[in-house]
């Protein structure tokens, strides 16, 4: 499956798709040092975001999630790419700061609601986000 979507933050990344069934606050919801989802009530609790192409409708909750994402990317435990159903300023800022500070570009892409809804449950995802648009390949 090939998707064309809106780039929120440029970059290239690939990895297993992790489609989150609910929004996730990275602050309080994930371990900044390991990338594990620690929010006990979250459907994907116990899964890791490290190296995954994570898909989530939005980040929910604390704006400190920008710091946590930047820290996870710095420490090498961040996601490979982020697919969103709506523009999420907090995650875009976290990815932007990691790129500015450490030169590590984690792409952030906004899918249409239909593209987001039709994402497969399991796939290998490859994301190529340029200034013009983003391409997402799912196999």
């Amino acid at each position: 499956m090939e998707l064309t979507a809106r780039t929120l933050h440029e970059g290239v990344g690939a990895g297993p798709l992790l489609a989150l069934d609910e929004p996730l606050s990275l602050w309080g919801g994930t371990d900044p040092e390991t990338g594990l989802i620690i929010e006990a009530r979250h459907p994907q609790a116990g899964a890791t975001i490290t190296g995954r192409v994570i898909a989530l409708s939005s980040s929910r909750g604390s704006s400190s999630s920008a710091s946590v994402l930047a820290e996870q990317i710095r420490a090498g435990v961040g996601p490979a790419a982020i697919l969103l159903a709506e523009p999420d300023a907090i995650l875009v800022l976290g990815a932007l700061v990691a790129a500015e500070m450490y030169g590590r570009r984690t792409p952030v892409v906004e899918l249409s609601s239909i593209q987001f809804r039709d994402l497969p449950r399991a796939a290998l995802a490859s994301v190529h986000a340029t200034e013009l648009h983003a391409r997402v390949s799912l196999t």
Binding site: S63, S67, R74, L93, V97, M101
Partner: protein
């Protein structure tokens, strides 16, 4: 398409120095993400990025210092990870302690005021004016300044807050725009007994209920007593922002953008109406506790930071009645500004004589302060009750201030249920 003024273009190009240029890069990126057509000059900033979450936040603040950045507008600072006046109270250890301290110092170097509080609005000189555009971070500060003060901020947080401060600009989007400040959901509170609303804990419980009901939409509360105090609105907003992401509420006849219900809805009809019953409020209260009886180990007050008025109420409760139980530690989180006032008015002495610990510059749910063996904590804060179980791994009992004091005396959950019925 984002259009910049000449001054903004000059800042972006480095004409005002490397600090503002770096800040503009971040502000512009957010503006583009949000689809803003312009930036808006802001009157003040409240920064939340001074709480330590890891190296990235420290590297970012130190980069701004290295670039020679300075805040261009009055800027207050939210809590850090350490009580700088009583450093022994926080049991944070190196290297995190050192970095957390370096982070706080970096923000001072940028020219921000060392207020170290989540409630800068408790000090008159930090309160913006009605209708002014500001860039405030931290969810309780955001909802208070939007709703109670009537200034205009969107939901800002780490990185963007300080970049707004060094550029004096924020994206013209979200709650800066009048149309987005229109009320969406009506919560009719006229069925709540007045006696119940006289309990301090009724307000965070109501906030919790509202957050669950509206998510991130703008609620309009009707039927509340016109003489409700700011501490009640503080507690309501903080809880609504925690459980739902509320950044603006209107209370008819109380908050400045809602002289009437019609004005709160900008002349349109509510998308939905919820009648808030006493039963629903009791249910919301109960949702904020993870246990409801038995022994307690600690009491935590002051999230958001304790006000002078709350100190006065607590001092009065402590002044008449038996001593606190030796096995219960009682904590107040507050600002150094409010503490100085509470000391000059004699309230702080009464609290300390009773054995109460007073923490400033930080808060008991974001940094290690409570003793290691503490398992069950009582609080009158909806926000503390919402976050502490996950943050600290403790059990929580939610109750009003008088019940917190009574329980601290008996060492067990002790409640007066009469006014909840």
């Amino acid at each position: 398409m984002l259009r910049l003024t000449d001054e903004e273009q000059e800042m972006s190009a480095g004409g005002r120095g490397a600090g503002p240029a770096f800040g503009m890069k971040i502000v512009r990126k957010l503006a583009e993400t949000l689809g803003a057509s312009a930036l808006v000059p802001i009157a003040s900033v409240h920064v939340d990025g001074c709480l330590y979450h890891g190296r990235a936040g420290l590297d970012f603040a130190e980069r701004l210092v290295e670039l020679g950045a300075r805040v261009r507008v009055p800027t207050t600072l939210n809590v850090g990870s350490i009580d700088l006046l009583h450093p022994g109270l926080v049991r944070l250890e190196a290297p995190v302690r050192t970095r957390a301290l370096e982070l706080m110092r970096a923000y001072e170097k940028l020219g921000a005021s060392p207020t170290w509080t989540c409630a800068p609005y408790q000090e008159a000189r930090h309160r913006p004016e009605l209708g002014q555009h500001v860039a405030w971070a931290e969810s309780n500060a955001i909802v208070f300044v939007n709703s109670v003060v009537g200034a205009r901020t969107d939901r800002y947080g780490d990185f963007l807050d300080v970049c707004a401060a060094v550029t004096g600009r924020a994206p013209l989007a979200g709650l800066h725009l009048s149309a987005n400040r229109r009320g969406q959901v009506l919560l009719d509170c006229s069925g709540l007994p007045r006696s119940m609303l006289e309990l301090d804990a009724a307000w965070p419980a109501l906030g919790h209920l509202i957050g669950r009901a509206v998510g991130t939409r703008v609620p309009v509360l009707s039927g509340l007593p016109a003489d409700v105090g700011e501490d009640s609105l503080k507690a309501l907003g903080a809880a609504a922002a925690s459980s739902g992401g509320v950044a603006l509420f209107h209370a008819v006849g109380i908050t400045p953008e809602a002289p009437t219900e019609e004005e709160a809805f900008h002349g349109r009809s509510p998308e939905a109406t919820v009648a808030v019953s006493a039963e629903a409020l009791r249910l919301a209260r109960d949702q904020l506790s993870t246990v409801d009886s038995g022994r307690i180990d600690a009491v935590s007050l002051g999230t958001p930071h304790f006000s002078v008025g709350e100190f006065a109420t607590l001092a009065e409760l402590l002044d008449r009645g038996p001593e606190l139980h030796a096995d219960v530690e009682v904590w107040i989180s507050t600002s150094r500004h409010v503490l100085a006032k509470a000391e000059s008015l004699g309230y702080a002495e009464i609290c300390r004589d009773a054995g109460v610990h007073i923490l400033v510059d930080t808060c008991t749910y974001v940094t290690p302060v409570l003793a290691d063996g503490v398992q069950v904590v009582m609080t009158n804060s909806g926000k503390w009750a919402w976050y502490a179980p996950a943050n600290l791994g403790v059990q929580v009992v939610f109750g009003c201030l008088a019940d917190c004091v009574e329980s601290a005396r008996t060492g067990r959950v002790t409640r007066d249920e009469s006014r909840w019925n």
